[in-house]
Amino acid sequence: MFTVPVLSQIVLNGFVLAAIYTLVALGFTLIFGIMRIINFAHGEFAMLGGFLVFFMLQVANMPFFVALPLASFAVAGGGLVLEALVYRPFYQKELQGMIATIGLSTVIVYSAVLLFGSHQRSIPASFTAIFTIGPVILPADRLAVLTVAAIALAAFYVFITFTRIGLAMRVVAQDLEIAEAQGINARATYRAAFFVATFLAALAGGLLAQLYSLSPFMGTLPLVKSFIVVILGGLGSIPGAAAGGLVLGMFESFVSTFYGLSVAQFASLGAVIVLLVLRPEGLLGRAER
């Protein structure tokens, strides 16, 4: 099994998984790091992004690369409404925020069932080409996903490191009191963070829908993976989410190809527990204050 085609396939698969996991986990960790809410509805924003892309492609006949960012902006915009209605009263209140997001998740999922039906549906493949470089097989749709994810992550990095808002977010995540003392508008920062987080999630959802399929229930898996990624990388840590995503993606790809899926499942969950016990702040996080 250690042939170049197989190994290269595994690495490619790993990168694709890592890209998607990171996109979703980033938003999740942002919301926790800045607003201290475990957003159980995070996967649902991905699902909404996927559905919106689907409708834009089907109904408005837009090209995929136009529909995707548009849909993500729309979901993020809609998310701001939810932010005001549902999230805002619970910032910094971990337990109650968690329950509220659980309720929201249920509302979104079953509203989607009512609106769209429960069956799985798939986006007509926008990329059917399959490239082969020597023995390595590169389906075009996966390449597209990698490209989009890479651009999005790079843009996010620039945003968080070099812009005022990005800096404000990092400061608020670090210490709310000091941030406010410095004159940073916490409310505006929260809104910005929520927008960015939801945008990324919707983007991931659109990519997931392109690669796999859509259903109102598809948000659970991205959520669970987000949990694992942020545990690996450290809750609230942005580079941690990226690192965790890469580690999880590669790990799953390798282990499941060589040992099958159930082993991979047990192994990743077991590794998570071990990590949490030995180093709860993850690979790159800070210790809980």
Partner: protein
């Protein structure tokens, strides 16, 4: 003042004074109603409420210490599977199955508790979540013992008598009351006070010499044993179990019961269990939007009545029982 009004006031006062009378009245209602209102479906629902109250109260013990567990259903599953397997495969009597179920759940809690309970806050939440997933996967994959995803069928009732729904209701009611009394005792004892102190400030409590980790582990084990009992009782009631009965959404249910019911007293999880078992049943008429309404209800309650239903009920009771101006004749 009229005769009627003065009698009314005296009755009012008597009721308020006699806690025993109130308890007795409540007991009469709880025990007597199935004999008056004949309805299998209602008895069935009431039994589920009693069973879930046990699990919710057990989670309450953990929550009182300021730790949130998202893996509680795993221990319920251990109790259920142990009991079901022992009774169906090894032909052991139900009582042994029940206690074995609690014991197995307690043992796992005792083994990993000391390790996991060192984590606090969100990390504890995530690690219990992971634990729940691993245990569920074991139920799914260990086909030779658990039957895998197909589950275990035709689990016998504890005794032929208990095939009758009303009889099982009384069993569940008795169990729930015992557990309630036990938890109440526990929470009002020294340990309970220590837990309260821990919840308010761990560092202060530690400084006062409270053995934090030990108490946490003990409570964790007790909670696991109790919910293990629920698992066993429920398995022999529904008479079918599968890994789906013990997944993440079940753990979530226990947590939601506690939060909605109220985190500050034992009445919280009881009320929460009542609410969360009955509510989906009341919404059955609207099959499709049932779950949407359920989610909205959750958000509204956690937003506007954060002290939970207990808080809500207390406010209403206070309003009703407030001394009123008696009309001057």
């Amino acid at each position: 003042m009229s005769e009627q009004a003065s009698v009314g006031i005296r009755f009012h006062v008597a009721i308020r004074r006699s806690k025993l009378l109130r308890a007795g009245a409540a007991l009469l209602v709880l025990v007597g109603w199935p004999l008056v209102i004949r309805g299998n479906y209602l008895v069935y629902i009431a039994t589920l409420v009693c069973l879930y109250a046990i699990g919710a109260m057990s989670l309450h013990l953990i929550l009182r210490m300021g730790q949130v567990s998202l893996g509680h259903a795993a221990f319920m599953g251990l109790g259920g599977y142990t009991s079901a397997v022992l009774v169906t495969a090894a032909d052991l009597p139900f009582v042994l199955g029940l206690f074995a179920g609690g014991a197995v759940a307690g043992m796992l809690a005792g083994l990993i508790g000391p390790i996991l309970l060192r984590l606090k806050g969100v990390y504890f939440v995530l690690v219990t979540f992971t634990l729940g997933e691993i245990v569920r996967l074991v139920f799914v994959e260990w086909i030779s013992v658990t039957g895998g995803s197909s589950g275990i069928y035709q689990i016998p009732a504890p005794a032929p008598l208990f095939l009758d729904l009303t009889a099982y209701y009384y069993l569940a009611l008795a169990a729930a009351m015992l557990v309630g009394l036990f938890c109440n005792r526990l929470l009002s004892s020294d340990i309970g006070r220590a837990m309260q102190a821990m919840r308010e400030s761990e560092s202060l409590a530690e400084a006062n010499g409270i053995p934090i980790l030990r108490i946490k582990v003990v409570m964790f084990v007790v909670a696991a044993v109790l919910v293990g009992f629920q698992g066993s009782l429920e398995a022999h009631f529904i008479r079918y179990i599968s890994p789906l009965s013990y997944d993440f959404s079940e753990s979530l249910r226990f947590l939601v019961m506690n939060v909605i019911g109220g985190l500050n007293s034992l009445a919280g999880p009881i009320l929460g269990a009542l609410f969360l078992v009955v509510l989906p049943e009341m919404l059955r008429g609207w099959v499709e939007i049932q779950w949407v309404l359920y989610g909205i209800a959750l958000i509204l309650i956690i937003r506007y009545v954060p002290g939970g239903l207990v808080d809500f009920a207390a406010r209403i009771l206070a309003f009703l029982m407030a001394p009123r101006q008696v009309g001057v004749s």
